[in-house]
């Protein structure tokens, strides 16, 4: 059996790390869906406040999305531009 090289170990661990980082993308999706559902309920209860509800939701959802993109950036850098391989 061939011994595991340092590069292979780093690439394997990076792939696991990228997979773990992608989990961060699920949270904002669930959260945004939940917010949209509650927003729809609120508009049903108070239709005249639709403008305020959508404006508040827009700002909140846009900022909440950024955490998912953080994870995505980390995952893609680990997969396609891994800085750790160059350290060997």
């Amino acid at each position: 059996m061939e011994p595991i090289t340092g590069k292979a170990l780093i690439l394997a661990c990076s792939a696991i790390g990228a997979g773990l980082a992608m989990i961060a993308g699920i949270g904002p999706g669930i959260g945004q869906g939940f917010a949209a559902g509650k927003g729809a309920e609120s508009v049903g209860r108070q239709p005249e406040a639709q403008g305020d509800i959508v404006r508040t939701m827009l700002l909140g959802c846009a900022v909440a999305e950024s955490t998912g993109i953080y994870g995505l950036v980390i995952a893609l850098i680990l997969l396609f531009a891994n800085p750790l391989v160059r350290l060997l």
Partner: protein, 135 residues
């Protein structure tokens, strides 16, 4: 007209202004500014389009049934997530685009939102005192 059109215009204007300032700064500081500026413009434009898509999604979602709105908003989020993934992947693979510039461009609209709405002290003060005046 859309409920959020004025807000969108304001946020996009601030984002473009901040992008111009960062691009001019890169032009001033860096010796090879082209990849960074191209990537910054690319990332910012995609960020603005994603923001517009989010606004359209939410405007439609609030008129739907709550259970359908949840599924609709989540599925649209994952489409935007995939678009972001493609954009970052392209900027990693292309030599003429700087990855950092693209990532900064994608986040610029979020920074603009935080800077204009959450740190707007006069609006916060007005919101806090509105209820008390009525009492």
């Amino acid at each position: 007209m859309d409920d959020t059109w004025n807000l969108q215009k304001k946020i996009v204007t601030y984002t473009l202004m901040v992008m111009s300032v960062i691009a001019l700064g890169a032009l001033w500081v860096s010796e090879e500014p082209k990849p960074f500026i191209y990537a910054l413009v690319f990332g910012t434009l995609i960020g603005i389009l994603n923001f517009r898509n989010l606004a359209l999604t939410l405007e439609k979602a609030v008129t739907m049934d709550p259970a359908a709105a949840q599924i609709y908003a989540s599925s649209k989020y994952f489409i935007r997530f995939f678009i972001n993934a493609v954009v970052i992947f392209v900027s990693i693979k292309a030599d003429y685009l700087n990855v950092l510039g693209t990532v900064i461009g994608l986040f610029l609209i979020k920074f603009a939102i935080v800077a204009t709405s959450l740190f707007n002290k006069s609006a916060l003060f007005k919101r806090n005192t509105e209820g008390k005046e009525e009492e």
